[in-house]
Symmetry: C2
Subunit: 416 residues, 2 copies
């Protein structure tokens, strides 16, 4: 609300020096807090920006990677550029690649499997890239996700980074939600290898108590990044530029798609100052503890099954028709996912005001609805056990479910 009330538009440094300076400071703070390597921070030659969403960050980094490659190859070789992601990577990368003019047929979706916890392995990337290079194509961009949307899977950043370096690919690390966990030492390891990345993004508006919209994007080379995004018309030359065409200070318009921008730094600054590192770690750990407890309760109930081991706040479990039954109760709103052809519901404990009690209430609701669903289908307990046994055989009728329950934050959520 502070951001809105002040209604600051810090597109060039001169339009609001305080906003621009504050932004450079909070992105460095945030980077240090999640243990990013120095070279991604302003203090280490890199730098960061607050954008509206990962989608914007993806478009900007893809455009920078494309222009870096085409500067060597010539624009006509845009047809040769290939972008790599896994089948768990957020769909925004596919949309982003298309937006920046990469031929849709050059977007490679690498299959993942349960054996790697649905993470994208370096071996799989190496095989795919070698094949493309042999065919005369140019590997452009690789996305490593820390905490995928569907399952909370983690791609090995270091392994993928080494593959990216071998071929001069741009490595982007998308830690949109799970990046917040890295403020706790026990989760920092998931970002190991980030010094090999050209860019890293995480969204404080997801699991960091910050209001929509706020996405941190760090880049190792601000010059390469802004080369794809800068403009210098007469009406934007101002006291912030030193007259040589090179800005004397950061003009954030050259760090994003739009000229117009919001004063997002004040939001993140308030969060960081209000809660502090210790408070925020406690917040993250409370959610993880609640998710852990939910996972244990699911595992202990024979009608349910935990499908993918929990890493952060996302619990994966299954029982058919539960989604519709829970949603129609009006007491919680949940969404689904499909993995290996199996329908899944997802539970994520991430609301600003979510307490252990809410998780207990949701579990009671789920158990009650499970009973109802099973009764309606006149299935005996014996049959249910059998159903669970055949799950891995991909029987059509066997539906797996995970839940996402953005308690308190999601607008359509009705408190349980």
């Amino acid at each position: 609300m502070l951001s809105v009330g002040l209604n600051v538009v810090p597109f060039v440094w001169a339009a609001s020096p305080a906003a621009a300076e504050l932004e450079t400071i909070v992105v460095d703070w945030m980077g240090k807090l999640i243990g990013l390597p120095h070279l991604l921070l302003f203090s280490g030659g890199g730098g960061g920006v607050l954008q509206g969403s990962t989608c914007e960050a993806v478009v900007c980094t893809l455009a920078a990677a494309r222009d870096r490659a085409l500067a060597k190859l010539g624009h006509e070789n845009i047809m040769k550029l290939v972008v790599y992601a896994s089948d768990q990577t957020h769909v925004t990368f596919q949309k982003g690649a298309r937006l920046v003019g990469i031929p849709p047929s050059n977007f490679r979706v690498i299959q993942t499997s349960a054996s790697s916890g649905y993470g994208l392995t370096a071996d799989a990337i190496r095989a795919a890239v070698d094949r493309e290079v042999a065919n005369g194509l140019v590997p452009l961009y690789l996305c490593a996700t820390v905490g995928t949307t569907g399952l909370g899977a983690v791609d090995p950043v270091r392994g993928l980074g080494e593959e990216a370096q071998r071929h001069g690919m741009w490595l982007h690390v998308d830690a949109a939600y799970a990046g917040s966990a890295a403020i706790c030492p026990e989760f920092e390891g998931y970002l190991d290898g980030a010094e090999l990345a050209d860019s890293v993004s995480m969204n404080p508006h997801k699991w960091f108590l910050t209001n929509m919209d706020c996405c941190c994007l760090w880049v190792a080379s601000p010059a390469t990044f802004t080369a794809a995004l800068s403009t210098d018309p007469e009406y934007l030359k101002n006291v912030g530029t030193n007259g040589t065409g090179k800005p004397a200070a950061i003009d954030y318009k050259d760090w994003q798609i739009s000229l117009t921008r919001r004063f997002r730094a004040i939001k993140l600054w308030v969060v960081l100052r209000r809660y502090g590192a210790i408070g925020l770690r406690g917040y993250i750990r409370r959610h993880v503890a609640a998710a852990k407890r939910f996972e244990r309760m699911v595992a202990e109930d024979e009608r349910f099954e935990v499908v993918v081991p929990r890493k952060f706040l996302l619990v994966c479990f299954r029982l058919r028709e539960l989604l519709a039954a829970v949603n129609s109760s009006g007491r919680a709103f949940i969404t689904h996912f499909v993995v290996d052809g199996k329908f899944v519901i997802r539970l994520a404990v991430a609301g600003a005001m979510t307490e252990m009690q809410h998780v207990m209430d949701v579990w009671a609701l789920l158990q009650g609805k499970a009973e109802e669903v099973l009764r309606r289908h006149q299935l005996s307990r014996a049959l249910i056990v059998q159903l669970r046994g055949t799950a891995r055989l991909h029987v059509h009728a066997d539906i797996i479910l995970f839940i996402i329950l953005v308690l308190g934050i999601n607008s359509t959520f009705v408190p349980v």
Copy 2:
């Protein structure tokens, strides 16, 4: 603040049906209010969306135009696509074209001149397009601006639309600031010919009492538009889709770059309900009257000269060194422009709380500073008159100035 407090994220219809439905309603209201043709409204087969900025709207429409063309030509012909704009068109079109992968060398900047009031003429476009087509290139996209950033110039929408139709080009009408004026019948004519446009945009956050960020974008063919922007991953299939892949309701994520979005409709709804058409027309007319009076005062002072006739709220006049002198007073913040090699300051009367008195105060400040500047240079009145006389000869020392004074709205503005 309502938008922030509610913290609604209406990316799919189901995430917030109220927000999605309200958005379709307010963009239709807004379209009717500025006299857009029926075919750009939902009620006429077109439709609108609230985006964050013109820059986003430009990227989305360019991508849609590109994909429409490449669907026929094949992606490899991206090298042949040409985008047209004038030297007064906002630089975001150049950035947008580059972002969506159009070769930078295929962006054509057509010169304008004082003879057309710095508007882009249909003749100039016809000549340029015919030349390109003869060379085997494909005209893709043409931007017509109603109220250019620098000078407030107006391109003839109908004339440019006819040229666009002749070659199957996408016509975008950028009425970012001046579109607001079209709610008054006396300004509606500037949008004449909009039925030939594929898309039209205007920003209520500029001159329509709406807080940052809020940009209306209307398209004639939602299907063509969303084809370039839609995604359909499993975790976004929800109660808002009817299971056939075709959404039962509008999923606004397919109408913009990002998945994440803000509840902007509530802001525009509040403005429209609070002020009403009559109130808003009064607001626009008060600013225009103040700008008109300022223009007259400038014209009557022999030390100043009005350079380009005022159309809406922007007054153009000149006197060297005035920019620095006024800005360093701390009582107003102004920016500049260059036209035909001449340095210019711009005055725009657009603040929510700007009254005639503020304009009078600014004029007094300008007169005072003009005196100071002239005294400092020990220039006699005779010499000043001579300087004015040589202005049109493009003498290097002759600097023309306009002012932009976003009274009250601009964060760095100190009330006079």
